[in-house]
Structures are given as C-alpha cells and as structure tokens.
Symmetry: C2
C-alpha cells in the first residue's frame, strides 16, 4: 500500500489583520496552507496568532514575537514569511507632523520587516520565501510623503541585503520586495473616490502571486524588488533592480 504523507505548507503572515493580510490568509487557507498571523489583533481565519504589543520597543517586539513563534512552531520550519504590515501617512518638511508621521511609518513598516527577517533567519526552511512590503513611488523622491518614502526605501535596501551572501537567511532562501503603486483596498476606495481604479492592483492578484512564489513557482532571484503594475485591470510584474 502506498501512503502519501502530505505535509501542509506553513506560512507566517505579518500584518495578518490588515486589508491585504486578511486577503492573503484567506487565499492561502483555500490553497491548504497553515497560516500564522502576527499583528496587534487576532485574525480568526488564521490557524494561529501571535500578538504584537505596541507598548514594546523595537528590540522587545523582536524578542517577544520570535519567542512566541518558537512556542507555536515547536521546531517545525516555515515555507514562507510574508510581511504586509504598514500604513500610509504624508507630509513634507513644513508639515508640523512630518516627523511624527515618519516615526509611525518606520515603526509600522521597518520594525515589522526587520522582525520578519529575524523570523525567517531562525524559522524558515531551506529555499523558503521571505516577502517584504516596498512601494514603487519610493524608488524616487516622495516630497509629499517623506516619512513613508524613507521607510519604504529602507525596506528596499534591506531586501537587497537579504538577497546578498551571508545575510543570515537559510541556504537557498528567496527574499523579495513587492512594490505596488496603489492597492485596491476599501480604504483607498474610501479616500480616493474619484480615482481611476483600473490601475489599482486587486488584493487577490497580490495573494495569487505570493502563493505562486510560496509554491516555488515563477520566483524572481533573491534580492529582487518586484513592482506590481496594473493597467486596465491587468496586473503584471516588473523587476526594479
């Protein structure tokens, strides 16, 4: 008798309670992936949850998240770590809140990305996937959203470091940055009611692409920054570096 021992893929979705995060958790679940959401709240659709405390500093968040994930995984390895945490805030140098906003952007996007990188370094399988959230506009100047641009540029550079030799990631691991322009989220529809949404990237497209990479299909080389462009409702990928 032939026995198939099917082993479920395992994936951390950092920011698993956000608009994109929930979509990814739902999509991966349909594909039979075991998902662990890391966020400030719980996503009941995920198989496990690790909560981040906003009162913790950067190093404490890293320590506590790594420790909690270790307890959940019990030595099992992950196929993927996908970070989609982060938000948006604007401001140029004369906006009285620009530094406050830059601080928020850094904490949401860069703290989460560096902790996701640590999770990958400690718990990812050989040839596992690590995805971090970049933004296409930050490949140039972003005078109307200076803090956002700095945070995203830091993530882009972190992806390049993670794709280099001796990054600490397991052998054959693939670190990618996704660089959307505008995602088709309920929040964006609410705040930009008159925009041309045919250029917005649907969340299910992002989830589909991420699942492809998770299944080791159509992966760009590690360290790549992958722009996600949508025209007339069709999404295509473009390597930035």
């Amino acid at each position: 008798m032939l026995i198939f021992r099917y082993k479920m893929r395992k994936c951390v979705v950092y920011g698993g309670c956000g608009g994109l995060g929930r979509e990814i958790v739902n999509y991966l679940k349909i594909k039979g992936v075991w998902t662990l959401s890391v966020d400030i709240g719980s996503n009941d659709a995920a198989d496990a949850n690790v909560l981040v405390s906003l009162t913790d500093g950067w190093t404490a968040q890293e320590k506590n998240v790594l420790s909690a994930i270790g307890v959940v995984l019990k030595g099992e390895k992950l196929d993927g770590v996908i970070n989609v945490a982060g938000g948006w805030a604007g401001g140029n140098t004369v906006d009285p809140d620009w530094v406050k906003n830059a601080d928020l952007m850094w904490k949401q996007s860069v703290w989460s990305s560096s902790i996701a990188a640590s999770i990958a370094a400690h718990h990812l399988k050989t040839e596992g996937l690590l995805v971090l959230p970049g933004a296409r506009p930050a490949t140039g100047g972003t005078p109307g959203m200076m803090g956002y641009g700095m945070a995203k540029a830091a993530i882009h550079q972190l992806v390049k470091s993670l794709g280099s030799e001796c990054s600490g990631l397991p052998s054959g691991a693939c670190a990618l940055g996704i660089l959307p322009v505008t995602l088709d989220t309920p929040m964006n529809r609410k705040f930009m009611p008159d925009a041309d949404t045919s250029t917005w990237t649907p969340l299910t497209e992002v989830a589909r692409i991420l699942n492809n990479w998770l299944e080791n299909r159509e992966r760009p080389s590690s360290g790549s920054l992958v722009a996600m462009l949508t025209e007339k409702g069709n999404t295509f990928l473009l390597l930035e570096n």
Copy 2:
C-alpha cells in the same frame, strides 16, 4: 565713500562634535563662517551650540532643536545646514544585536537628518545648502551591516524627496547627500590598522568640498547623491543618481 557691508555666512553643523563635524567647524571658521554646532555635547570652536538630549524621542528632539535654533538665530537666516551625525554598527539577521544596532543607526543618522531638513525648511536662505550623510555601500545590499544600510538608504531617499518640487525647502535650496566609502578618521585608523588608507577620504577634503558648495561653487543639482571616492590619496566626486 563706498562702504562694504560684509555679512558672515552662517552654517549649522549637525553632529559638530564628531570627528568629521569638528573638522568642518574648524574649516568653516578659517573661512570666516559663523557656525552653530548641534550635538549631544558642546564644541567650543563653534560660535554657538545647541544640545540634543538623548532622552528625548524623535519629535521632541525636533521640537527642542528647532526652538533652540530659533532663539539663537533671532530671525537671521542660514546659508547652510550640514548634517554629519551618525556612527557605524554591524550585524546580519542572525546577530542577536542586529535590531538593537539598527535602532541606534536610525536614531543617529535618520533622526538627525530629518531634523536637519526641518531646520533647513524653517531657517535656510533662498538658495541655501542642505547636506545629509549617506554612504556609498548602501546603494546596494549591505548584509554585514543591515541596520546601517537601511538608515543610509532612507537618507538617500530623503535627499531625493528634498530635491523634488514641494519639499518645503526654500526656493532654490540645494539638498545633497554625501556618499563616502571610508573616511580617514582616527577611529577608522584605530579599528582598521592594516587597511590601505590611500583609498580613504581625508576629512579636510570633505570640509573643503562642503565649503565650496556653501559658497555656491560647483554644486551638483539639488537631490543629487554625491559619492566621494579617493584613489591614491586623490579625492573625486561621482553623481550616483
């Protein structure tokens, strides 16, 4: 009778107590520039000092530094704001201290750079100069110094934002990033005793170039990232973007 009313140039040197900062203050002083050092300690060679408190957060540092500079300047405008604050720390994703080091790099380099940008937005003259401290290695991946690379990449992107329309800087202002490889500092000589120092950039060369720009000579266009390369003791500049 012809009366020359000579007005001293005025320049803020952020990080005016560091190795490079002291060199710049001394150089500008010889050139007759009035200098204001911003740092955690005083530089007695400067004409004025504003102290930064390390117990303050990012927004409090910005508020307190802006306020103190306003008191010193009494409505006078600056010809330049030069930030050379920052340090170095290494680590890849498996280094237990990498996030702690990334946090330090962010605070030293990016907090100071964003506050320098705010100073420029509020106190710089038309066609004034703003210089921020980048690093050439961070134009690619830096797996052995991940936090340092992220911080410097954020500064590079901030320079691009500051060089764009509607950054908040005064009309005609010139924002530049300097991207050295290795500076010839006493610390680097101490920690890399066997290195080839003929490729290290002398601090006086950096000060000379900065003073040129301050005097509105040989300025690259605003938003430029200017690599400082030294070969056989000769330093030359290369535009990165």
